[in-house]
């Protein structure tokens, strides 16, 4: 099982891939979700955003057997908060069975 640092690295990389921005663009400015949608050429609305997060969640399940539930996220949520939600889910022992 990967440690927390490896999981965070995986999640950051998958977020960036799925939204179509670099990790630096995504996390250095701690973009809000609304800004992220505006900046990404792949994103039109919050449906696209949730689909990108879902792909990350599906990847965690397939690659590591970890299940992540996605809460409703308002568009003023910073991406660091989303990362924290994912990390909270994957490091919670009760949530590890996929």
């Amino acid at each position: 099982m990967p440690d927390a640092q490896e999981l965070e690295s995986y999640i950051r990389r998958k977020f960036a891939e799925n939204v179509g921005l670099t990790e630096a663009e995504l996390f250095s400015e701690d973009l809000t979700l609304s800004t992220l949608i505006t900046r990404s050429e792949r994103m039109t609305n919050s449906v696209d955003l949730m689909e990108a997060f879902a792909r990350t969640s599906n990847g965690l399940r397939k690659d590591f057997g970890l299940r992540v539930r996605l809460p409703a996220l308002s568009l003023d949520t910073p991406v660091s908060k989303v990362l924290a939600v994912f990390m909270g889910e994957v490091t919670n022992p009760e949530r590890k069975s996929a």
Binding site: T44, V47, D48, A54, N58, R67, L70, A72, A98
Partner: protein
């Protein structure tokens, strides 16, 4: 998870026609919507559950004018593909490929890609395709839209 393609035959109504005597372009969107309801029925899914599907994008190619008579609407789920859709996975978007033909063996008149998202009707927040399917399988059978004749 596998879903069957559906086919729905509709009769063009006189009021569907515009001044040129063919089906108005916006009316075609109603045919496509009826086709998607038929697709749900084909899968044994019912409406009336707490999670609903909403259209988020429509791309339509009008290839041929639709005169009075019957049209046949074919609807298939294009995305997620069968290997991308799992009961315990997460998908927030589905895309249908729909085709409208002039009669059963007639030529293609309209081709469309329709994307839908899913909403928790009470919370007004986004829901997943899996939540929609769970709700549509559990929902009581509501009044079914009859094909027009």
């Amino acid at each position: 998870m596998h879903f069957e393609e559906s086919s729905l035959t509709l009769r063009v109504r006189p009021n569907d026609l515009d001044i040129l005597g063919h089906v108005n372009n916006a009316t075609t969107l109603e045919y496509l919507e009826a086709g998607r309801w038929a697709w749900l029925e084909r899968q044994g899914l019912t409406r009336g559950g707490p999670v609903v599907a909403v259209v988020s994008r429509v791309e339509v190619d009008y290839r041929r004018e639709i005169p009075p008579g019957d049209v046949v609407v074919h609807t298939e789920l294009e995305s997620p593909a069968a290997d991308e859709l799992e009961e315990d996975g997460l998908n927030y978007r589905a895309r249908f490929r729909q085709r409208v033909f002039l009669s059963v063996d007639g030529p293609l008149a309209v081709e469309a890609l329709v994307s839908v998202a899913f909403l928790d009707a009470r919370a007004r927040s986004l829901a997943s395709l899996q939540q929609f399917l769970d709700a549509a399988r559990a929902a009581p059978v509501a009044a079914v839209e009859e094909p027009r004749s």
